[in-house]
Symmetry: C2
Subunit: 320 residues, 2 copies
């Protein structure tokens, strides 16, 4: 049974000092490794781990080709400015190879998870010689695993490290007693800037979750360009989440007086408290028109743009 620390109870400085000590004690003179995604949890773990181990924590950012425009460079540069070196691991080809020909959303997620753990991160862990792995698991993840919402993960098995060998490996989860609000409080005390906390929710499979049908470098580039427009135009709406989805259906369009079969981008912008129920944000019509205009002119191949008007349920926040 894990003892929860609520955000109200949490005294960040004390909590951080304790976790730093725990990590130092566990790792000793060894080295540790962690994967940074740019999300709140992995960012806070990176900061605590760095405080504990300095250069003996190796922090990697895996460039899977599915991130948003400039995201790898932006995350690396933010942490550099905080004195933390982030190593960007080029793995685009491996992810796109694994995704080739897959149409089913579940298989897509599975291919990304497998490629991340078994192939790319597993290889890096083994090559690094690090025996300690830092992970940003929070209490909500544990609850969801127990409730069966997320699959139970044996991390080392996932990494392709066999149980015998795994004997020598240790996993450290310094945030496991906290929930999201506690993690934020700790992150602020660690000096992480507001942009880390104000980041809108972004799914694990990244832009692959924003493409209906096959995930290819070209289709990811299309939805990435649309995402730039959507995030820029909607960032001041105080919405819970906003996203662009590339559809697979072909629709008729016209350019320069000629028929052009093209594709459609769907924009979703959600009002929600906790993602369990959500309603489309009542955006001003001028803003919807601006979204459509910029997307059809700045994103090659897009001739049509729609705005989601259904609520969750029966819709869901993401499409895949």
């Amino acid at each position: 049974m894990i003892k929860e620390i609520t955000a109200t109870e949490l005294v960040p400085e004390k909590f951080i000092a304790e976790k730093v000590q725990d990590i130092q004690k566990a790792v000793g003179e060894g080295i540790a490794i962690n994967a940074l995604s740019g999300g709140v949890d992995s960012s806070v773990v990176t900061m605590i781990g760095h405080k504990a181990l300095g250069h003996r924590l190796r922090t990697v950012f895996i460039e899977n080709g599915l991130m948003r425009e400039d995201e790898p460079a932006r995350v690396a540069s933010l942490f550099n400015s905080l004195g933390v070196q982030v190593e960007i691991i080029e793995a685009r080809q491996e992810f796109f190879d694994a995704l080739k020909g897959i149409l089913d959303p579940e298989e897509k997620r599975e291919a990304i998870t497998q490629t991340f753990y078994k192939k790319v991160f597993g290889r890096i862990v083994k090559e690094s010689g690090a025996k300690h792995l830092l992970q940003g698991t929070i209490l909500t993840d544990v609850d969801e695993t127990i409730a069966g919402i997320k699959r139970q993960h044996n991390v080392f098995e996932q990494l392709g490290i066999d149980p015998q060998e795994a004997f020598g490996y240790h996993i450290l989860e310094p945030l496991i007693q906290l929930r999201k609000d506690g993690v934020r409080k700790a992150g602020m005390a660690l000096g992480l800037p507001a942009e880390v906390f104000n980041r809108i929710p972004f799914p694990g499979p990244a832009l692959a979750a924003r493409v209906i049908g096959e995930v290819t470098p070209e289709r990811i580039e299309t939805v990435r360009k649309a995402t730039v427009v959507v995030e820029r135009l909607l960032k001041n709406q105080k919405a819970f989440q906003y996203l662009a989805i590339l559809h697979e259906d072909r629709v008729t369009g016209m350019r320069h007086g000629k028929r052009e079969f093209g594709h459609q981008i769907e924009v979703r912008c959600w009002d929600s408290l906790d993602a369990r129920a959500a309603t489309p944000t009542k955006l001003p019509f001028e803003l919807l028109e601006q979204l459509a205009l910029e997307i059809t002119t700045q994103v090659p191949g897009i001739v049509s743009v729609t705005y989601n008007i259904a609520s969750k349920p029966p819709s869901t926040i993401e499409v895949v």
Copy 2:
């Protein structure tokens, strides 16, 4: 060279009397036939032809399975109330057989045209013994044929009647000097009710144009149900056109707490003067929410609803 009669010049009573005489002179003691779609042009031709020939004009409405809810019955009953008998020809199976497996929009249109002319209407014309065919061609159709927008039609060839045999057939086009506004003026003088003129534009391939991907009876029934909701909720918006489109892409939804892969309906509502350029109608958000709520609850399999926000160009009014 066809001499145009503008709507301003048109004296409807005089025009109708002349056309009635022309038809009587051409048909003599014989019989004539025409296909009524419920659109303005074919409705006006039906009324003029009936005035000229009474029961010697055979008016057929071809039930292709692609019309809107109750449309065949509604059209027949309207004309019955005006003293014109309309024969509904059951041809649903033939159209769905012709459309089976076709995904390309152009091939879809072609299959419908071929089935209409060569198979169904051609057979009826030949069986009827009628040698005179009344058609609602207007001057705009002629212009578009010359401009190459519509294909040049040899009607008898389309009907599968060979040129030798076609020698005995005659085509009568009483509206060929008029444009849409002139046709409306003539129609009003003929006593056609307002609903015929206020009918929003509806495409030749009917609901088949509102389905992305394969046209099946089930998919037509889905878009038909969505069309009922859209036409009912948007009829008072004074928009140029409004429509529901069934997408082929599968999207994730949730019902009763469980994941459900479903489909999406796209709603389009257009402001336009002449269909050459169009912008989405700025519908109140409450109405958009009502559309989504009714469609997701009343149309089986639909978990998501979007509203078109792109203009024409680069979009088009219909999707197929």
